[in-house]
Every structure is written in structure tokens, then in C-alpha cells.
Symmetry: C2
Subunit: 231 residues, 2 copies
Amino acid sequence: MNQSNQEDFQKRIKIRFHDQKLLTTALTHSSYANERKLPRGKDNERLEFLGDAVLELIMSDYLFKTYRDEPEGKLTKMRASLVCEPTLAFCAKDIALGDYLLLSKGEDLTGGRERNSILSDAFEAVIGAVYLDQGFEEARKFVETYLLQDVDEKVLFYDAKTSLQELVQSISKESLSYILTKEEGPDHQKTFTVEAKLGGKVIGTGAGRSKKSAEQMAAYEAMKHKDRILR
Amino acid sequence: MNQSNQEDFQKRIKIRFHDQKLLTTALTHSSYANERKLPRGKDNERLEFLGDAVLELIMSDYLFKTYRDEPEGKLTKMRASLVCEPTLAFCAKDIALGDYLLLSKGEDLTGGRERNSILSDAFEAVIGAVYLDQGFEEARKFVETYLLQDVDEKVLFYDAKTSLQELVQSISKESLSYILTKEEGPDHQKTFTVEAKLGGKVIGTGAGRSKKSAEQMAAYEAMKHKDRILR
């Protein structure tokens, strides 16, 4: 990645870092630091440690104030469904974070830019960097914009298979199934395509790096087109 | 507890709450809310949820900035040893938090004011209340004053048995043992007294509600009087 890419990223997220090196660190995956033999602390793992705590507080504060009548146990569960790898990776994809990461050649060639674990960690590292460079309130704005906006949709996405199952049970006697229709690419870089079917009818299609994530995408698509289920 | 006690507590921690009810909630254990049939949300569990996240960020930020060369894994371990029940209960005892808690009669009679789990939770709830009432920076000051001051000593306390074992191994050939010397009180409210012995010599004495915490106290006392070990 070159400097102009980092410029692009800042335009995209509408934040101008005082300390450009801090952003570079947030975008540096450990595989890249290892490959280049960079000194210790030049990858994004420490920033991820910090960003995770920043995110935890922002979400806890949001849930505490939004759900005033919910007990602690419910808040903890909601927080866990928002601050989890699939949801954070989903948010990272929203800002095309994968395109700006510094990865080793190996990680790059094996689809690292789309790997949920890498994206989720980098998303937290960016939150940590925003917090250090711009302060807590700017970090909060960042999280509000890129995680809490359409939060219902994000929770829906995370829980799409459960939600679809519940919907189908309440309105239809036919049973829901997921059918693998395609498996492409070499072993280390497979893409799976799955159809969600109600009775004989396709109500959603999804693709992903694993069968599970393809099913999730198919269920999510079905939930967005409920008319296909109802008709 | 009456209002004057809440006044005392604020003088002790040098914080004047704008919203006195918020502090009352932080000091209310669920057993008291149940006994009095208070409406949902009037005990300190939700504030504990929030305070836990506030504390996590303050500690992460502190460790991130203090240990600039330590990898993420080490920071995570250090955070876990600081944000844990025994350490937080130790800090709660420093401000006599137990004296100000609203407990059910049952909890009060069975030593609830000295129970680590209750104290640790209430300490987090107070942090949550300070954050809501006074803001993040005031919460940080509170944590710096009551947790991060003498942090080395607190880590030492938490880890006293390990530290003592290491010290003894490095300077002595005699072996370390913990001897239970007293067991007092009724079953639900026992106090254990333990001596830490090196060879035949007592190098520390400690008391606690469990054998384990009594051993910890004995080890801590021995570490504070290293001359007894060296002589």
C-alpha cells in the first residue's frame, strides 16, 4: 500500500489523522510486519487491544442509555452480538477496510483482505487509533457512524438464520433448507454458494468463504425480500 | 443506610454527585432491592455492567501508554490481574465501600459487607456512576486515585503467593509452607488464620474468610517484611 491509499482511506472515513504513523500501524497486519522484519509494536495488535476496550465502553454506554428497562444480563448479550467478529467484519467491509490493509504476500494471495478475523481486528485497531489521535468523543462518532447506524440491520445480519427460521415457522408450514449449489476455487481459497429454500422455492442466495457464512448471507437476502416468503 | 452515610462516602472519595439517586443505585445490592421489592433497575447491576467497561478502557489506556514495548498478550494478562475480583475488592476496602452498601438483612448478617464478589461489583458500579454523573475524565481520576495508586503493591497483593515463592526459591534452600492456625466463628461466617512459614520460622500471618485468602494475606505480609525471610 502506498501513501495515497492511506489518503483515500481518511477521505472515506472523513477523519484526518494528526499522526499518520498511527494510522499506518492500525492498518498493518502482523503478517506484513513479520515479512518485512519490522520492529516489535509496528503491527496493529496493541491498537486492537486498546480499540477493543474503547468499543466495549461505547457500546455499553449506548446500550445502557437506549435500553433503560433491560437487566444487565440482556445488555451483556446484546453487546456480545454487536461486538463480535462477524458484525465487526461486516462494518469493516462497509468502509472497504480490506483494500487498505498492509498484508504479507501470502495473506494477500489467500484472501486475507476478506477474512473476518483480519477485518474485525483491523476495525478495532482503527477505533483505537482514532481514540488516541482524536479523543474519546471522535471515536464514539466513528463507532456511531460505522457500527451503530442501521444497528438493527447489523443484528439482523448476524442473526439472520435464526430470524428467518422464526419468520418461516410463524407464517408457513413448509420447511426451510439450505442447499449448497456451487463450490469454486482452490482449496485454500474456496467460495461456497448456497440457496435458502422454502419448500421447493428459492427465497435467497448467498456466497461466502465458508458454508456457514454463505448460509448466513442467503438467509439475510431472504429476510430483505420477505415477499418471496409470503407469496 | 441513611442519607448522612451517603454524604460521608462522598466526602471520603471527594466527589459530589449531581444526581444523588445515581449514587444510591450504585450502593444498592440486589439482595436489598429484592427484600424491599424495589422496582427493576434499582440495584447496582446495570451500573456494574457500565462501570466494568469504563474500568476496562481506563486500564487498557494506562497499560498501553505505560508499557510501550510490551506485546498485546502481556498487556491482556496485566489487565486481567488488575481488573479482577480480589484486586477490585482490595480497592473497595481501601475506601470502606462495604460500610456504605445497602444489603438485605441476610447478606448483612452473613458478612456480605466483606465479601469480595459484592465489594468488587459495587466498586465497578461506583465507577459507572462517576462516569455517568461526572464524565469519563473524572472516572479516570477516580480509578487513578483508588486503583492505580500503588498499583505495584496491588499487583503484588494479588500475586503475593507466587511472588513469595519466587523470592524464597531465589534466596533460601528451606521450603515454604502455609499452616492453618485458627478457625473461628459459625459455619456461614468463619474466619481462617494462616501462618506462612519458612523452615520453622513464621514470616507472615494472615486472616480471611477462606483459607486461600488467609494464605494470600500471610504471603503479602511476608513480602512486606522481607527482612524476616532474609535473616
